[in-house]
């Protein structure tokens, strides 16, 4: 019996140790994974840490990160937005058409084109929000419908053709740099900052968390829960359209098929970043790290010459592990 006893003791302390390890991993796991990945890649490829490659990663990530920021608002309320890829294409094509001489109606000022594209995105997002908030339909169904309708609108509007010959001044949005930093990265930084302030420093942000955590409690506490739910879809639409405009300006043409399946990477970034799909829990910084992680994996594996087939497997595995870590955190 005595030796048995001591054995049990050590087992207990081991279990205790594992407990803290699991907690550390779930709190900082993603950041840690990200840093480890960066270190490994910097040894594996001398090109990886070069300034132009880093800038390249950031530029590539900016599109997904923008979608993921909008998606974070939505998921924090306990919803989901599957339509971001289509809204991205719609916003991009609307802006491109107004900034292109190839499209009937002539060229308007690039800022007007930008505003119109963003307005288009907000409109589609608002339609999502209306059905979900006002008529209490499941977000999954409504945004799945919009995924299809948004793409359809885009093809109808552009007659299925790309919109080329876009005003040079408009292309600056995607191709310009400031102090060597590409505009898309600067726009992302700006949007991230504004979103961070909204989520963590304003009443609106608190309400978003409260609605996702417990809609009924939020309602009884005097929060206009329908307005909050409606508005997060409009925000997501805005972010998606902005990403579409940047993509258009970078590729110098509005492409109606742009952004297909982009919603998956956006949701992945949010989930990897530790935001709970049931709402109420999560951080914007986590989302940014999630998006960067996805970007770095793609870039690093490209540099190492790993086939894109394997990349998909690895990305999927990371999503599952991230959610597993999240479930540890919940149990704790």
């Amino acid at each position: 019996m005595p030796e048995n006893h001591s054995a049990r003791r050590s087992e207990q302390s081991f279990a205790g140790g594992r407990h803290t390890l699991a907690r550390l991993l779930s709190e900082y796991g993603i950041l840690l994974a990200f840093l480890v990945l960066v270190v490994v890649l910097s040894f594996a490829s001398e090109y990886f840490l070069r300034a132009d490659n880093i800038i390249n990663i950031l530029r590539q990530t900016s599109i997904n990160a923008l979608l993921a920021i909008g998606m974070t608002f939505v998921i924090l309320t306990g919803g989901i937005d599957l339509s971001v890829g289509s809204v991205l294409a719609f916003g991009g094509i609307v802006a491109a058409s107004l900034a292109s001489e190839a499209f009937g109606g002539g060229v308007v000022h690039p800022l007007v084109a930008l505003a119109a594209g963003l307005g288009g995105g907000v409109l589609l997002g608002a339609i999502n929000g209306l059905f979900i908030a006002k008529w209490r339909m499941p977000a999954f169904v409504v945004t799945l419908g919009m995924l299809s309708m948004g793409r359809g609108f885009t093809f109808i509007y552009s007659d299925g053709m790309p919109v080329p010959r876009i005003d040079e001044r408009f292309l600056v949005i995607g191709q310009g740099t400031f102090l060597g930093i590409p505009f898309p990265v600067l726009i992302l930084a700006f949007v991230f900052l504004v979103s961070w302030v909204i989520l963590y420093k304003t009443r609106y942000g608190r309400y978003v968390y409260a609605v996702g955590g417990n809609e009924k409690s939020a309602q009884v506490s005097g929060v206009n829960t329908r307005w909050i739910i409606f508005s997060v879809y409009a925000i997501s639409g805005f972010c998606a359209a902005l990403a579409g405009i940047i993509l258009t300006a970078r590729t110098t043409a509005g492409l109606p098929q742009a952004g297909q399946a982009y919603e998956l990477d956006a949701i992945a970034a949010v989930v990897i970043g530790g935001t709970s799909l049931s709402g109420g829990r999560g951080t914007l910084t986590g989302t940014l790290i999630g998006a960067l992680l996805i970007g770095v994996i793609g870039n690093g594996l490209d540099l190492l010459g790993v086939s894109s087939y394997y990349q998909q497997v690895i990305k999927g595995a990371i999503i599952i592990v991230a959610v597993l870590l999240d479930s540890f955190r919940k149990r704790d």
Partner: protein, 512 residues
């Protein structure tokens, strides 16, 4: 476990020796000893955090112990999951009911061990028949084909008990079994507990409610700070002694009440109706008054509060606050008029469990705590600190996630968030449900003090002693109608209960 064995065996049904469990930072159970005999009810009392839940988790194999032994019929056991505990004859009826709402009564009772035909498909009829038998043996008439979502809380509770019995368990653990149900149903439940005891089962009865404990328990064990501070025969102790053992000091008086009613009418309601929920409710509450509303579950009392507060507005009737007619279309309107509502179920509608103490307390007050859209965090922190100090909230920090607080402290968070607004009229729906005696006392003295400052309080409670002790006047609800009103002096438990159980028809006669 044959009959002769049972009488020969000197070993008790369940014995716990030196049981110890440590969590990071707390010694949750400290060398606890306990003995449960066959055919007896052993009550476990203690405040929240005294170690009752830990004890139950260790017994059911949910947590692993650090030291000590658990013996069933004299044989040491060590469970690693609840399934093993169930197989060994221990089942538990938990305080938080976890029904699957879309499944039927029978499906819920046999969840995870459905009997099958030829090992293939589920034999639904056999399960329904068995469920009917078990429920009937408990004296419950309930169609086992009903879906759980169609049942009342009390019925769900009874199904859970049926489920626990369906395991043929010798040892039953009941965790606060009456916390969610009305007095009348509670009576039936206590009778049930006694009959189970008479069948030779051993019952561990965990409860805060002294009334019940002294009605059913043979033995009473008091836990405090993870230690077992006393085990006595119920016949050899009394209520004040147990309470003072629980809280570790003498409790002068459970209820505090010294508010003074003022002539001014704070709230007047005339002819308020909404659908089938409640009909033609009229009342007047004065400043400084505590006005009780008593009714059974489903009598429309909580729905009435929802209508007053604009959560679901009334169809007809009028609400006047301090003489001004008010239209409450949503909670925001009621809040602007100085009303606050502490809802019946703090987890469902009182708190955002995944958020911090600060975020919860600030939620209904953010407009006052911000400048434009921006929250003034310094002012917010001061305000939250001030109000939580007033309620002596025990929390490691204001950043603590509220789901990790005890029930009493969670309730204090709900009170704090509404009191920060200094409402003129406070609606309290079951404000002391499921919290320990110490915290209850604090809430009573707060109510008395707050009313005495000239505010009006409306109190819904299913606990008769509480509502009689705290209310100046009591209105009785039955089937959505107000069937009678009496003053504190006139109030008798039996009479209130009789009124509350009246059918609509009788109620109308009484009114006429």
């Amino acid at each position: 476990m044959s009959a002769p064995n049972r009488s020969d065996s000197a070993a008790p049904l369940l014995e716990i020796r030196d049981l110890t469990k440590r969590f990071p930072g707390v010694l949750a159970l400290d060398a606890v000893n306990l003995c449960l005999e066959r055919g007896s009810v052993h009550a476990i009392c203690g405040e929240n955090g005294a170690g009752k839940s830990t004890l139950m988790n260790l017994l059911m194999g949910i947590d692993s112990r650090d030291r000590g032994e658990i013996l069933i019929d004299g044989r040491p056991v060590q469970f690693v999951n609840p399934k093993q505990a169930l197989a060994a004859g221990i089942s538990i009826i938990e305080q938080e009911l976890n029904p699957v709402p879309e499944m039927t009564v029978a499906e819920n009772m046999f969840l995870g061990r459905e009997s099958t035909r030829f090992g293939l498909w589920v034999d639904a009829r056999a399960a329904q028949e068995k469920a009917r038998q078990i429920l009937a043996s408990l004296g419950i008439e309930l169609n086992p084909r009903l879906k759980m979502k169609e049942l009342s809380l009390a019925q769900i509770q009874l199904v859970e008990i049926g489920k626990a019995l369906s395991y043929d368990s010798e040892i039953l653990i009941m965790d606060e079994p009456t916390s969610a149900i009305a007095e009348k149903d509670a009576d039936r439940l206590l009778d049930l507990v006694k009959s189970l005891r008479d069948q030779g089962k051993g019952i561990l009865y965990v409860s805060h409610r002294m009334n019940e404990i002294f009605r059913v328990a043979d033995t009473i064990t008091v836990f405090r700070d993870g230690r077992c501070v006393s085990t006595q025969l119920a016949s050899e102790t009394n209520r004040p002694e147990v309470v003072s053992l629980m809280i570790g000091r003498k409790l002068e008086d459970e209820y505090t009440k010294n508010n003074r009613i003022q002539p001014e009418v704070a709230l007047s309601v005339r002819g308020l109706s909404r659908g089938d929920d409640f009909h033609d409710i009229s009342l007047e509450v004065h400043a400084g008054e505590i006005y009780g509303i008593f009714g059974l579950m489903g009598s429309g009392r909580s729905e009435f509060f929802d209508a007053l507060f604009g959560v679901e507005p009334a169809d007809e009737g009028e609400i006047c606050l301090f003489g001004d007619r008010c239209e409450h279309r949503r909670p925001k309107d009621a809040m602007a008029n100085g009303m606050a509502l502490v809802t019946e179920d703090r987890k469902k509608s009182g708190l955002v469990l995944s958020s911090s103490v600060r975020d919860n307390v600030a939620l209904p007050n953010l407009r006052q705590l911000s400048c434009g859209p921006l929250i003034l965090e310094g002012r917010e922190k001061d305000a939250v600190q001030r109000i939580t100090d007033r309620f002596r909230l025990k929390t490691p920090s204001l950043r603590q996630i509220v789901s990790r607080l005890s029930g009493g402290n969670q309730q204090k968070v709900v009170l704090a968030k509404w009191l920060l607004r200094s409402p003129r009229i406070l609606l309290l729906d079951e404000p002391t449900r499921g919290i320990d005696i110490g915290a209850k006392g604090e809430i009573y003295s707060f109510m008395s003090e707050y009313a005495n400052e000239g505010h009006a309080i409306l109190l819904i409670s299913s606990e008769l002693p509480e509502i009689i002790a705290m209310s100046d006047r009591i209105l009785v609800f039955s089937n959505g109608r107000a069937v009678g009103e009496c003053s504190q002096a006139e109030a008798r438990q039996e009479e209130l209960l009789r009124l509350a159980s009246l059918s609509v028809h009788e109620g109308e006669v009484l009114h006429a």
